[in-house]
Structures are given as structure tokens and as C-alpha cells.
Assembly symmetry: C2
Homo-oligomer: 310 residues x 2
């Protein structure tokens, strides 16, 4: 048979926020889904306070799921809740909570998404579900009014749709596909340094896929716009949910067909070719100038590692 599947778990599963195991049952969502879930006494809630996840930490182990009673105590806004899915039949929801940050005292902590990604106290499954929750709740916040007619819209379908009572428009949660790519040329790869990066960091280039564009054309366009390098063939590697606020990173390798870097100095502080040995030192943390590759939960890390080591 002509279809070759790679062995082992897919590369996407190695990235951060990919551990979400909730059963979404997307086809079964309807106008009664949220009420039914809220009526379930066993329902569990992720609570977001100012966009950060509430976590109770005891002996290093974190608990990010709370009961209905706890949700009420933390002033969760259940009218704004979303139904993420279920876990062994238990409805799992997320809601913004209005408890003042000054009342978040040990053993309670607030985790922003980046901390969550590298925390050992919240597991990968919960981190993934919190990513889902954050993207959805942000989308609701940015779509309280109908874009077509300006009337206030209402959440429906367990939070997976907003309906306009005035013009009957329906809008669905948004996911922004982003092309993120490692350009390679023989034993070298192309890395750039954004103006906002931590000291020493270099990473792959990336940019939003635009309307009317294939993934491969976006890889070629973005690489050329940012670095001046022409890409020929493109190979998909892995994807990653990226809740800042609701992107889908689509990671690819691109085969460079030109050499001379002319980078966009508005976006980048530097962009150049790196030899494989230098990249290996960056991944190992042994680079003489302390240059670094992105950390292990980032899809950029896995693109770079798959090329340099695997």
C-alpha cells in the first residue's frame, strides 16, 4: 500500500498543550448541553481568574479541577461557562471566576499559560484542557456583539456557537492556523531572533496562514518575507494547539533553494544559517556563546530537534 505512516506516537503529541484527553462529543452539542452539564452534581470546573488558571497545590501536586461548590465559592460566572467535554462521563467545564487575586492565598496559585506549560504540578491532560478553555473564553470575550449587525449575541451549543437574536447570524469559535517552519539547506538550518526573545534565543520563523493560501504556499511566503530565503519543497512535521489566544501551529520543514539571508529588521534582530553542530550545542545547553533553542514543549524545539538529532 502506498500510504506510509510514521512509527510511534505522532510528533504533535510531543508538543505542549497537546495532552488534552477530554471527549468533546462535538456532534452531540445542542441548545441544552450547557444546562444539562451544569445540572450534573459531579460536574468539574476549570476556573480562570484574569485569564490565569486557578490551581490548588499540595505537596507539589496541583489540582486544577474544582467542584460546583468550589466554583461558586470562587465567584465563577456560570452563565459564561463553556462545556469542554467529558471524562468518563463526568462533564468538564470552564468558567471565568471573579475572586479577587488578593484572595488567592496558599495553597491556591494562579498559573498563566506559559507557566502551566512548564509546571510539573499540572499534568499534560489538564494543561491541554486549560488551553482549550482559554481559547474559547477569549473568543467569547471578543465576540459579545454580532460582527454583522452590532447586536449583543448569545452563547449556545455549550459555548461552541454564538447566536445573534437580531440578524440570526451564527458564529463559531475561531482557530487561527499559523505556519511555523524550519528552512534547511544541506547541513545548515535557518533560525531567527525576534526582537522580544529572551537573551540568546533563536527559533524557527512563523506567520499566519492567510485566506486563500495553502500551508505550503504560506511556508514559502513567510520564509521569503522574513528572511529573503526561497523555499521549494515543503514537508509537514507536526501541529500544536497554541492558546495565545487561539492559534494552531502547523510545523513544517522547507527545503531552501537560495542562500543569501536578507532579513526583515522590523520583525527580527538577527536571522542566519546555523550549522548542525552549533544547533546541537544549543539544544544541549553547551553553546559557547550561550545561544539557546526554544524549550522542549514548543513545536519549534521539535522541528529543530528532528532535523538536528533524530
Amino acid at each position: 500500500l502506498p500510504i506510509r505512516f510514521d512509527d510511534g506516537p505522532d510528533a504533535s503529541s510531543l508538543t505542549g498543550f497537546a495532552g488534552n484527553r477530554l471527549i468533546r462529543d462535538a456532534e452531540k452539542r445542542d441548545s441544552g448541553s450547557l444546562a444539562a452539564a451544569l445540572a450534573d452534581a459531579g460536574a468539574r470546573f476549570f476556573l480562570l481568574v484574569g485569564g490565569k488558571a486557578l490551581v490548588e497545590k499540595r505537596d507539589g501536586a496541583g489540582r486544577a479541577l474544582f467542584s460546583r461548590q468550589e466554583a461558586d465559592a470562587f465567584a465563577a460566572d456560570l452563565a459564561a461557562a463553556v462545556l469542554l467535554g467529558h471524562d468518563q462521563g463526568v462533564p468538564t467545564l470552564a468558567a471565568p471566576a471573579a475572586v479577587p487575586e488578593t484572595q488567592i492565598l496558599e495553597p491556591l496559585w494562579l498559573y498563566d499559560l506559559r507557566s502551566l506549560l512548564y509546571s510539573s504540578s499540572v499534568g499534560d491532560a489538564d494543561a491541554g484542557a486549560i488551553a482549550q478553555a482559554t481559547s474559547l473564553l477569549h473568543w467569547h470575550q471578543m465576540n459579545r456583539f454580532c460582527g454583522k449587525c452590532g447586536a449583543a449575541s448569545l452563547s449556545s451549543q455549550g459555548g461552541y456557537r454564538r447566536d445573534c437574536p437580531s440578524c440570526a447570524s451564527q458564529i463559531f469559535p475561531r482557530t487561527d492556523p499559523v505556519a511555523i517552519m524550519l528552512a534547511v539547506s544541506g547541513t545548515r538550518c535557518l533560525l531567527g531572533r525576534g526582537r522580544h526573545f529572551p537573551p540568546g534565543w533563536y527559533s524557527t520563523l512563523a506567520g499566519f496562514i492567510e485566506p486563500g493560501e495553502t500551508i505550503e504556499d504560506a511556508v514559502r511566503r513567510e520564509t521569503f518575507e522574513e528572511s529573503g530565503i526561497r523555499i521549494g519543497r515543503v514537508r509537514y512535521h507536526a501541529s500544536q494547539p497554541w492558546p495565545f489566544p487561539h492559534s494552531l501551529m502547523i510545523g513544517c520543514f522547507g527545503e531552501a533553494v537560495s542562500e543569501e539571508v536578507r532579513f526583515d529588521a522590523v520583525e527580527l534582530e538577527d536571522c542566519r544559517w546555523f550549522d548542525r553542530e552549533e544547533v546541537r550545542a544549543m539544544l544541549a545547553g553547551t553553546h559557547p556563546k550561550e545561544l539557546k533553542a526554544p524549550p522542549s514543549k514548543a513545536i519549534a524545539h521539535h522541528l529543530i530537534r528532528a532535523w538536528a538529532i533524530d
Copy 2:
């Protein structure tokens, strides 16, 4: 080197609407881009009348790009124009046009997007640019008001952003990633028949990728929700811009790890395993019961063909 690139043009380039060759120069868009393009006497315009592309046909050859003078004659709304990109330095724009359909007389024709896909009179490059235009103009129409505060928002950055003068929100054009997948099991593949399909048609399953989900997890979830079939390993094949209204189809193969089909009868009229010989007959148009695979510009066709023939 470990990165294997497939030979030849990428599979995405074989799909419909993938032929767009305009240079977008996304990094260079700014608040003056649209005015500068409109001030260029050589600027060319795609014109959309009620969502359909205006085409002038002479001797079978179609022209979908019009001059500024022609755009004015067809009552193009240049305040709502978007800058798609340029072709050899010539700005290429798109605008809705208010000319009444009753005044569209030969040699003028209106092409909806599906007709455009299979027309020989409009080339692939223009069909791709019209897809880009349609997605963008639809997005503007659905986002005239700020979703966050309800105020009227304004187009900026050549039509690639809308700015809210009241709360300063910026929103960007939307592209909805969709997983479309062929589940395979040995010499069989899984095809379904949607309730709205033309007679005899069977196709791959598909569904929107949701917030907080990898492409691979979406392939597994959608296949299971629609057919009851469990998928293990997933392999990306190709992508396709799909301007209905602004999707990005992400085509994958999925390795089935279960056998028994229990399809969702709300969405599907039928869903079953097809042997490779039967699929070849469908592709060749020689199926005894006149069952058919999707037409050649659809990414579903290419997934099915790559498995059954290539």
C-alpha cells in the same frame, strides 16, 4: 539528512483554488497600502457581484480582472476594496460591485465559486485570487461591528485588519482549519455520503478543527464521531484553500484500528468501507451502480486517488 521531501510539486498544488500567484507582501501592509494601490492608474480589480465573480468571456477565454475605469462603470465600492497583492508590480485588488445582475449581459457573465473551479475560461491563478478575495470580503461583511464593544469598526492595512475606533481592538481575517481525512484499513477505505450530496457521490469525512486540538487529534475525533471508526496513526497529505467562506482544508490519511461502522445518521446518509477496486471504478466513472468520487479539484479526490491509484 533525516528530512525526506517528496519529489515533484506538492500535492496541495494539485487542488482547486491553490493556483494563486499574487505576491502578498504581507509584512509591508500598512495604513497607506490601500490608498497607494487605488492611486495606481494600472491597478486591476476583481469584481464581486452578490458574491459572484464578474467575467468577460470572448471566444471561450475569460477575463476576470478589470481596470479602474471598468470598476467604476460596474459601480464597484472602492471604499470596501481589499488589496490582494501584486503581480509584477501591478496592484491587484478586489471590490464588491453593485451593478444589477440584470445588466450583466453577454459577453459578461457571473461565476459562482464552484463554477469557477471547473471553468476552463478562468485560469487557476485567477480562480485562486478570487478565492482569496471572496474569503476576505465575506469576513469584512461579517465583521462590520466590533465583537468586543459593538462599535462600528474600520478596514485598515489594505483590508487585512479591522480596527475599532471605540475600544482599540484589532481583528484579523479569519481562516478556519478543517480536518478532511481518508480512513484506510488494508485494501479498504472509508467513504461517506452526506445528506446534501449529488446522486451517487461518496467522499471523505471532514470537520472543523477545534480550539485546543492538534490536527491529528481532530482527525481521530471527527472520524470517530461521524463513523464510529477508531483511527491510530495519521499522515498529512495536502492542504487546500476552501473559500466557503474561509476554510483551510487539511487533508490526511488515517490508519483505522477498528472495523465496525456506526455512522451518525444526522449528518450522513451512508458510510461504509470500499474496496480499492470499487474506488478505482468510481474514479474512472465505470462504477456499475454509477457511484462517484468527488471531482478532480477537490482535495478529497486527491486523498482518494493517492491511496487508490498513485
